[in-house]
Amino acid sequence: MENKLQNIFASSLGVPFESINDDLRYSEIPEWDSVAHMTLVAAIEEAFDIMIDAEDVIEMGSFAKAKLIVAKYLAP
């Protein structure tokens, strides 16, 4: 799941795959602004076939947090 999520982050934000790690945080790079965040969320939802609640969209402030949130929705 982590690798797939990294790919989505890289393609949605338009940054190299290698730059996606747990320390990557929302608005700390110019590519991850509020507009990109919505694109990113839509791409994650599409790729994992989930629908993320608004509260979690707001909470998704880092790659590390995104992993936890996606895992929560994928849990049976």
Binding site: A42, E45, E46, M51, D53, A54
Partner: protein, 215 residues
């Protein structure tokens, strides 16, 4: 999908539906003030149907009181149910509609939200707020082919309007130029139109159904 606070009224409604409406139904029961329940319901809709075509924000409460007699609790309750919950439902619906290429949202405002009414400050504020939310959402969601409109019913024969005494009822009726209370069906016809493809180019509108009460 049909939603109400309790299953009793939903089952009655379901039983009253004509055979032409014999489609798969999903009953959702929760209090509009419970944000978690709203999120959970949209998750259920997503899991079961994967899409949503129409949302009608119809729930509403009214606790009439003169300005000096409005409690903080009543004010919060009215804004929570009539406005905040409607916005949260639009939020959930917009997500699902965006995924499936569009949809229609119909918000039930009120003539009181446009023109005010003595003794209904919180209710009027909530319904005026809903008009603002409708117009803003319509602008934001048009590009996703999601239409958002509001209806402003006048004096309609509903449970909400059964609270009035004879004097108030007479005063209200005197303001209706067509001389009769509106029926729920008068409003439902417009809901059906706005939800249909016949209204495909209509968004960001507030349409009165009031028998001339606003004239």
């Amino acid at each position: 999908m049909l939603h109400a606070r309790t299953a009793v009224s939903l089952n009655q409604l379901l039983a009253a539906l004509p055979p032409s409406c014999a489609v798969e139904s999903m009953l959702l029961t929760y209090d509009m003030a419970e944000q978690e329940s709203i999120s959970r319901s949209f998750q259920e809709i997503f899991k079961r149907f994967r899409r949503l075509d129409v949302l009608v924000n119809n729930a509403g409460i009214m606790e009439p009181a003169k300005l000096g007699m409005i409690s903080q609790a009543a004010l919060s309750r009215t804004l929570e149910v009539n406005l905040a919950a409607a916005i949260l439902h639009m939020q959930g619906a917009a997500k699902l509609m965006t995924r499936s290429g569009g949809g229609a949202i119909v918000n039930m405002s009120s003539i009181v939200g446009r023109y005010g009414f003595e003794g209904q400050v919180p209710y009027a504020a909530s319904k005026a707020g809903l008009i603002g939310a409708t117009l803003s959402a319509a602008k934001e969601l048009a590009a996703q082919r999601i239409r958002v409109n509001a209806i402003a019913p006048g004096y309609i024969e509903t449970e909400l309007n059964s609270q009035h005494n004879e004097e108030v009822h007479g005063q209200n009726l005197a303001r209706v130029r067509m001389g009769r209370m509106g029926q729920p069906e008068d409003v439902a016809h417009l809901v059906r139109f706005l939800a249909s493809d016949a209204a495909d180019y209509i968004t960001g509108q507030v349409i009165g159904v009031d028998g001339g009460m606003s004239l």
